[in-house]
Symmetry: none
Subunit: 219 residues, 4 copies
DNA sequence: TATGAATGAGCGTTCATTCAT
DNA sequence: TATGAATGAACGCTCATTCAT
């Protein structure tokens, strides 16, 4: 094997470093994924780092190379998993100006059903609902980054709908929570009773939208 | 001291027993109350029997005279606390036959706001939402005894409202959850964000009822 | 078995309590004794609570019924073990007024040789010397309660000796440590080299006393 | 770039190697210096290789290129640091034959005060006193290489002093430890109480020498 | 019934050591 | 040589459960 030149050596060192850091990042992701599963299954307090490590395929000590302690792992998990959601909520779903408020809310509902309800992200939401009271900083973060923005976006849609005459009850703008409530209930319901009493979230949301906007015209 | 007759002896024994059992019942209640507070504050796994005993003013061992173990205490707690609620839901709130569906739902909402939202019972609901996933038998019990009955009662009211023409959207009967959803959201919201972003549950429920039944006539 | 009267019951309860507290005290002592051995053998950091518990014949958790944590156990150990020493040092060994300073120092040396050098108390001193630097509060305590008092008592003896003309070098009063130094060295020496190079502490102290007071008259 | 001749190549390789070994030696020294600080500050068991590596400016793994394990590093440290001391003690300080024993002991004391008391070497001695009991091979090494030789040298001085009539108490030759004891005490004292109760080691040693040789003549 | 001291399995965390790069 | 991510055994501490009193 020819002795590498200084330049080559440097590059291979960089490559090695990058390869290592890629590996490290993969491990980090594996830990987060495993932690999500365990936390969802057992709750924060009852989840065991041993199980998380085993599920992630790393040694227990490795977790501590990436996270300060169990709580940091938990919080990081929730925060990280919310970033994409935040993006979705910050960019209101409509683009053109001619969209009806109803279409906007329907898109919102579809996005919810597709991206959250049946996915790991739904588990995150469930986790926040379950454990949030014990982690004030987490629920505050969640409030600021997700709830407040979601509520604000929903408010805008409602006001737009009122302005366009699609929504009759002007009071609704004061409680955007009403619009989101069935989605919330769907998440909690699936977590608790879904196994033996599944709830058709999509259909329920459709009925709820009809309630807000009036029944659909003949399609 | 004169030797007591057999009859006297028996009676005093019964009295003692009854006195003792009264004491025992009081202790049991104290333990349940203390357990509720601790479970709500820390969650099932993180709550300590030491703290529950201290709060109840009994020794740790005493808990085991009344409950098989920590989980039994938890489940008993949730089941016991729901009994009154179950009663309320089983007896539909309407009395006379001429009541409107709207009045019935409004009574339902008032009952909820008064009896649950700001009380310990709200904590029970929160507990079930938080821990239910880890206690399938508990959430099944809750489903059977509370949710199913509540949903059924709500269904009847909705169908009554549809029949009376108070509710236009007949589809609503398929998803009584929609009617209850804001109440659910209120409970969760208060538990998570109530400290810095309180939600006026009563006002929200009123708006929601307007959404279902149409706006109130001039009062 | 006859039913006990109330008075008997009360007494037996008191007895039980006292029996229990006696047992508890015994356990506490056993833990302290075991801890001393382990700390002496391995040092504070390397000593294992498992080993201490096993040696004391109690479960690991029992240690925590008596001491807040490992460090508290260690400090309590050193403080407790010093109490008798403190007594000895506070009560100067002389009694009558006609005792010579030499006799007083000789008594001091004898007490040291008998009560400390070859006993567990010597281990305590060794422990303080070994670990004191890592436990400032402990070495301060030791300084205040033991060293300072011992040095003060020694100072008084030296000044008494100077006043009586038994000690020529008046400067010695400024450094009572000199008088105690060989005793200190004996302790350290035995701990480090005693196994293969034993040191006759008694003889050495005698020579040292001769050095201070001049040679003994013909005995 | 001209291709180097074989000889040139060899030389440059040797140079490189030597340069490398110089680097390696420097690293070794840096590790030893860092280890001394950490071991002194925390004790053997509580010192962390991470901290030693960080303080030495090397990676943790590098330590293992120079030392087999933590204990080897510790022992090497103590052994290495004692080499100069050993030299000093092996070569008795006197040169001419006319020096008095007192002068020799005074030189000894001065050397001690200058070279050990306030320096890192004093820390080494403290380390041996603290940890020696847990490292029999180390304290044996220390005994053989330092203590025994020091004691022997001190014995010779004492006997010389007795022969010259400078020392009256012939028994002192049996316990040279007595002469060194205050120095030992000074080291331990500074480590434990020095922060708030400093001890003037030089003055104390002077008084002690007066005790052995009698007061100084008018100076 | 009631107590609370005692137990010991279990968990979070640390850190000496290894090894692929 | 040098690195530092990865390992996993080990340890301090907790707490549900038991049981002698």
């Amino acid at each position: 094997m020819p002795k590498p030149t200084a330049a080559e050596s440097k590059r291979s060192a960089r490559d090695a470093a990058s390869k290592r850091s890629v590996r490290a990042l993969e491990r980090r992701e594996a830990i987060l994924a495993a932690a999500l599963d365990e936390f969802v299954a057992k709750g924060f307090a009852a989840a065991r780092l041993d199980d998380i490590a085993a599920r992630a395929g790393v040694a227990k000590g490795t977790i501590y190379l990436h996270f300060a302690d169990k709580e940091a792992l938990f919080q990081e998990l929730v925060r990280t998993a919310l970033v994409p959601l935040i993006g979705q909520l910050a960019n209101p779903p409509q683009a053109g100006g001619t969209a009806s408020a109803r279409a906007m809310v329907e898109t919102f509902a579809e996005t919810f059903a597709r991206e959250i309800a049946g996915t790991k992200r739904g588990d995150i939401v469930r986790l926040v609902i379950s454990e949030g009271a014990r982690f004030p900083s987490l629920s505050e973060f969640y409030y600021r980054e997700v709830v407040e923005r979601g509520i604000a976006a929903m408010s805008r849609m409602i006001e737009y709908g009122i302005a366009r005459g699609e929504i009759r009850n002007a009071e609704l703008a004061r409680f955007p929570q009403i619009v989101v409530a069935p989605a919330m209930v769907a998440i909690v319901w699936q977590g608790l009773f879904g196994a033996y009493a599944p709830l058709d979230a999509v259909a329920m949301l459709r009925v709820h939208i009809d309630l807000i906007f009036g029944p659909r015209r003949a399609e």
